[in-house]
């Protein structure tokens, strides 16, 4: 098992209250799996990513990535946010190097690798431009290349498409899906968009309302070689959508 999450509990402390965010979450992820986590809003989806990346510690339970406790300092996980978080004062090229720079791995070899990724995925002509000169979809693509430049084994995608307009979102879904598959990465996608989850993931984890438990796990089993866009239009996807929709709807009623 590449990622092992076992009996994870998390309680947030604040001055006025303590909130149980996660309640006994367990799941496994194989290498090169694409897993999506969906659930009612505010149920703690992002919290799970923070725990897997080692940014926060669980109250109890364990997270193992590649058999080790994850730390943000290692190169195992690459985090992608809802916002591209490109630094506006750096060119696209420098932004792509930013992760390498922070991790003090900005050797020529690694930089060349980053640039070759940028080339491969259509960013070559933008390298000398500034983020403000690029469209939202392009910027999010730069953010992905910045993450991939570190050669992470596991990509943590925290609603990376939700700030984009619909058209761009569908296109970028296709692109990022194919990049991740081609680079043979394992990925966990957190999203509130059920269709997006179905169109990209091999495994969909549905969470309950807070404190989040695992409500259901679905394995869509699409035929190989379908793009996310093609998957969206299958009857299988439509049936699965209704099912997950109902599951989340039931949870929303509890809130």
């Amino acid at each position: 098992m590449f990622v092992q999450v076992k009996n994870l509990n998390l309680i947030y402390q604040s001055q006025t209250d303590e909130t149980q965010a996660l309640n006994d979450i367990s799941f496994d992820i194989e290498k090169q799996d694409f897993v999506a986590i969906v659930g009612p809003s505010g149920c703690g989806k992002t919290t799970i990513l923070s725990l897997i990346s080692g940014l926060i510690k669980p109250t109890s339970g364990t997270v193992l990535v590649d058999g080790k406790m994850p730390k943000p300092k290692d190169n195992l996980c690459g985090y992608m946010f809802q916002r591209d978080n490109l630094l506006p004062w750096k060119t696209i090229e420098k932004n792509i190097y930013f992760g390498l720079e922070i991790k003090k791995q900005a050797s020529n070899e690694r930089k060349n690798y980053a640039i070759s990724l940028a080339d491969k995925y259509g960013l070559k002509e933008f390298l000398k431009k500034y983020p403000s000169e690029l469209s939202g979809g392009m910027r999010q693509r730069v953010a992905l290349i910045r993450t991939l430049a570190l050669k992470p084994e596991l990509l943590l995608l925290d609603e990376p498409f939700s700030a984009l307009d619909y058209q761009t979102r569908l296109n970028l879904c296709n692109d990022i899906f194919s990049i991740i598959k081609r680079e043979k990465k394992t990925a966990i996608l957190v999203t509130h968009d059920i269709q997006e989850a179905i169109s990209m993931a091999d495994k969909i984890i549905v969470l309950s309302a807070r404190p989040a438990k695992i409500k259901a796990i679905h394995l869509p089993n699409f035929e190989a070689n379908l793009t996310p866009f093609e998957r969206r239009n299958t009857t299988k996807a439509k049936r699965l959508f209704e099912k997950i929709w109902q599951e989340i709807q039931d949870e929303n009623k509890k809130i």
């Binding site: 300092k73 985090y79 946010f81 004062w89 991790k103």
Partner: protein, 268 residues
């Protein structure tokens, strides 16, 4: 870009833009000329008393005399020295303190009420204490200047540091960046604009500091000329010192503005 051909409409647009810019500049010059000309004529024809208001020609004459005798350079240098030292020390110290307070949440929380009180306290009120501690000389004046500038600097720069985009900091953390890395790679570049605008404010404040100090206690400097001129009822001297002060303050402001332009070029 330069080789690109534009439509006639674009050139018309550029022309209009330039005309407006020239018009603004001309109006500004006209206001200055009208001010000095009006001042001169009113005092020459006795509408206003040249004893109370002096006149531009008298001021110019006095500037010439004092330049020749070296007095003007001497007094300007004294004040400029105090102002520049006050400006540099206060800005530097303010920046460092702001960094420390950004770094340590504990220290920030501890110091907050003190900073707020110090900020609202009129620093001139500390004049007597400062004079007793530092003696009636330029040390006291520089200290006064630092005191006036440093608190505002700390508050402004700290505010800019703490307002840094949380999402960018989250990115740094997700990459495993140390707190120092987050500061130098994310927070500091994000705050550059605010830091430059703080510098601009500090130019004005440090002149306030040094002149305030000189008015309280001094043996030399433009503030000294002002007090001295007032005491012997020499309005020509008072006006001259004021005009020179205006000139120096604008020079320093333009220096900072130039620095800002250079930084912007470097940034983009």
């Amino acid at each position: 870009m330069k080789t690109k051909k534009f439509s006639k409409a674009h050139y018309d647009y550029l022309k209009l833009h330039r005309t407006k810019k020239i018009l603004t500049l001309l109006t500004q010059i006209a206001i200055l000329v009208a001010f000095f000309l009006g001042w001169e004529l009113l005092s020459r024809f006795g509408v206003i008393s040249s004893f109370f208001f002096s006149s531009p020609t008298r001021v110019a004459k006095l500037i010439g005399e004092m330049l020749r005798s070296g007095e003007l350079i001497y007094h300007s240098r004294v004040t400029l020295n105090e102002t520049l030292i006050g400006f540099a020390v206060a800005t530097g110290v303010g920046f460092l303190v702001a960094f420390v307070l950004w770094y340590s949440n504990f220290l920030r929380q501890v110091s907050e009420p003190f900073l707020v009180v110090l900020n609202s306290l009129p620093k001139v009120a500390l004049g007597p204490i400062i004079i007793i501690w530092f003696g009636a000389g330029d040390k006291a004046i520089i200290f006064m200047c630092i005191l006036i500038v440093v608190i505002v600097t700390i508050l402004n720069i700290l505010n800019s540091f703490t307002n840094c985009d949380n999402q960018l900091i989250a990115l740094g953390k997700s990459l495993g960046a140390s707190k120092m890395q987050i500061f130098f790679k994310i927070v500091l570049p994000s705050s550059l604009k605010d830091i430059i605008s703080t510098l601009k404010v500090n130019v004005g404040l440090s002149w306030i500091g040094s002149i305030m100090g000189e008015l309280l206690v001094s043996k030399a400097g433009l503030g000294y000329l002002l007090t001295y001129g007032k005491q012997v009822a020499n309005m020509h001297l008072v006006m001259t010192a004021t005009v020179v002060l205006c000139l120096l303050a604008s020079l320093m402001y333009f220096a900072v503005a130039l620095f800002e332009k250079l930084m912007q070029k470097k940034l983009k």
